[in-house]
């Protein structure tokens, strides 16, 4: 579902964020991406999101060579991918419902369909009673779950998460990971960047390890 073939990314200042990275993630896999901060985890996710373009190599997502996706194709490409950010990236002046509805509004679904799907997604993350709340009134863990609901509401085939448990205590982190595992079980490809090794080593999934931009391990569970 996601394939990297000898992908390198060098930034303008000459720093190599990724060098010669190759791997493949199968459609129903849940894979962790780990490494110290600055090892290239974020860069790798940004290449998949087309927030960056690789300097060399080829990235393929869902059979599509990203080099062939032009500027105008980027929004469409991003709509096929659900993303969970470490800092949530919620709209602080909109309530929970409207935050989660955003991808559906963008994709152009009708109001009834949006209401139905948003409530289903909120139900999945256990936040249905808070749909009218503003993000500021939610705890960090709840905000993260709103972010997850927004990422999955469009039923994407790929779910990316960048340090989704970064600010959460261990119990909440485990809860969030269970949510991702549930999505993986219904066939969503999940890639989670995390440096919380104790947590991810307990959850028997494949782990890709980056060190200074190189892939040093892609061990199975």
């Amino acid at each position: 579902m996601i394939t990297f073939e000898r992908v390198s990314k060098r930034y303008a200042e000459g720093r190599d964020a990724l060098s010669e990275v190759s791997f493949e993630i199968r459609p129903d896999e849940l894979v962790f991406l780990t490494g110290h901060s600055g090892a290239g985890k974020s860069t790798l996710l940004r290449l998949i999101m087309l927030m960056e373009r690789p300097t060399r190599g080829r990235v393929t997502v869902d059979g599509r060579d990203l080099a062939r996706v032009g500027r105008r194709g980027i929004p469409r490409h991003r709509r096929d991918i659900g993303v969970v950010f470490q800092n949530h990236q919620l709209l602080m002046d909109r309530n929970v419902f409207h935050n989660v509805a955003l991808p559906l509004v963008i994709a152009g679904h009708d109001h009834r369909e949006i209401g139905r799907r948003v409530r289903a997604a909120l139900d999945k993350v256990g936040l249905l009673p808070r749909e009218r709340a503003l993000p500021v009134s939610l705890s960090s863990g709840e905000q993260q779950r709103v972010g997850i609901a927004r990422a999955v509401v469009g039923r994407p085939r790929i779910l990316l998460a960048d340090e989704p448990t970064g600010n959460l205590d261990p119990a909440l982190s485990a809860e969030i990971m269970q949510l991702f595992e549930a999505f993986s079980r219904v066939g969503v490809t999940v890639l989670i960047a995390s440096h919380d090794l104790t947590l991810i080593s307990r959850l028997h999934h494949r782990i890709l390890t980056l060190r200074e931009g190189r892939l040093v391990g892609s061990g199975g569970p």
Binding site: R76, R79, I106, A107, G108, D110, R185, V186
Partner: protein, 322 residues
């Protein structure tokens, strides 16, 4: 086929909205953007009002000038061009010779009519009209020449005819009575050009005012734009609310301009009408064009869209998730 596969396919299909749904959603996003943009402007009424007033003043200025110029043009159009050449003859020309020449001139195809005013008649007329009777009495002899009043057949040929007659040695001076009207006409044309250029500059000013206002609006919603782009919002989707913001500012500005124009004519109109009456013009009161407000609102709306488009195309591209 495994259970996962079925689910996945279902997910893939239903994550795409149908064409009809998308059309309806497009309309509803337009409606939402329009309402949301208006709501944001109304949420800070003073700032929005000031922006609209600034646009209104800049729009009202050329509108008032153009309207005033148009009134003046109509007014001066009421004054008939006399199109008459006054031929002042040399003193050596006798009354008989002048009368004989009058016959000759009337026979010319370029001439419609010739009237003769003898120096004595002219003196009587001048005495009555000028109020210089005492001064004229003090003179030993009549200082006035004989006068032939030549009406050209066609007013376009008046100047040409005057030049031809001036070459005749019997003529001391030939005056085309419509010359000052032609000068006035030229001045009016010049005025119109100035209004056009000024108007163009001021309209450009409106676009720039709006561009800058929109730049600030975009900057203040930077985070939101980033999030929308990250979850797959197209450029058009991101642009839409800002275009509506520009549209509303433009409509508000046009409305302000319309009210200002009406106010200006209410203040200046009566005095100008009196002045016009003194010049013997028709006495219909001066006032703004009845369609002035709708026109200005439409103009404001177009300029608002233009300014927003300018700002949005310049600044939205700079905001990319990174």
């Amino acid at each position: 086929m495994s259970r996962e596969r079925v689910l996945r396919r279902d997910g893939a299909i239903s994550s795409r909205a149908g064409l009809l749904d998308r059309g309806r959603a497009w309309l509803s996003h337009h409606r939402d953007s329009a309402a949301d943009s208006l709501g944001r402007l109304l949420a800070r009424p003073l700032g929005s009002l000031l922006t609209c007033l600034a646009i209104g003043i800049v729009l009202a200025l050329p509108a008032v000038l153009a309207q005033a110029l148009e009134e003046f043009r109509q007014l001066s159009g009421d004054w008939q061009a006399p199109d008459r050449i006054s031929l002042f003859l040399r003193e050596s020309v006798s009354e008989e010779a002048a009368l004989a020449w009058r016959e000759e001139l009337e026979a010319l195809p370029a001439v419609a009519r010739v009237d003769f005013l003898s120096r004595d008649d002219a003196l009587v007329e001048f005495r009555e009209l000028s109020g210089f009777a005492d001064v004229l009495d003090g003179l030993e002899q009549n200082p006035l020449p004989h006068l032939l009043l030549v009406a050209p057949a066609a007013s376009e040929q008046a100047a040409q005819l005057r030049a031809r007659l001036l070459r005749d040695e019997r003529v001391a001076e030939a005056v085309l009575d419509s010359a000052w009207l032609a000068r006035l006409q030229q001045l009016t044309d010049l005025g119109r050009r100035v209004v056009w250029v000024l108007g163009g500059l001021l309209l450009l000013g409106v676009v720039l005012i709006l561009g800058n206002t929109l730049r600030l609006a975009i900057e203040s919603r930077r985070e939101e734009i980033l999030v929308v782009k990250l979850v797959g919002g197209s450029d058009a989707f991101v642009r839409r609310p800002f275009l509506y913001t520009g549209l509303w500012y433009g409509v508000g500005g046009g409305l302000c301009a319309g009210l200002l124009v009406v106010a200006v004519f209410a203040l200046v109109g009566p005095a100008a009408t009196e002045l016009a009456a003194l010049y013997g013009a028709r006495s219909s009161p001066l006032g703004p064009e009845p369609m002035a407000i709708p026109y200005l609102v439409l103009l404001g709306a177009l300029l608002g869209l233009a300014g927003a488009w300018l700002a949005v195309s310049r600044h939205l591209g700079e905001i990319e998730p990174s």
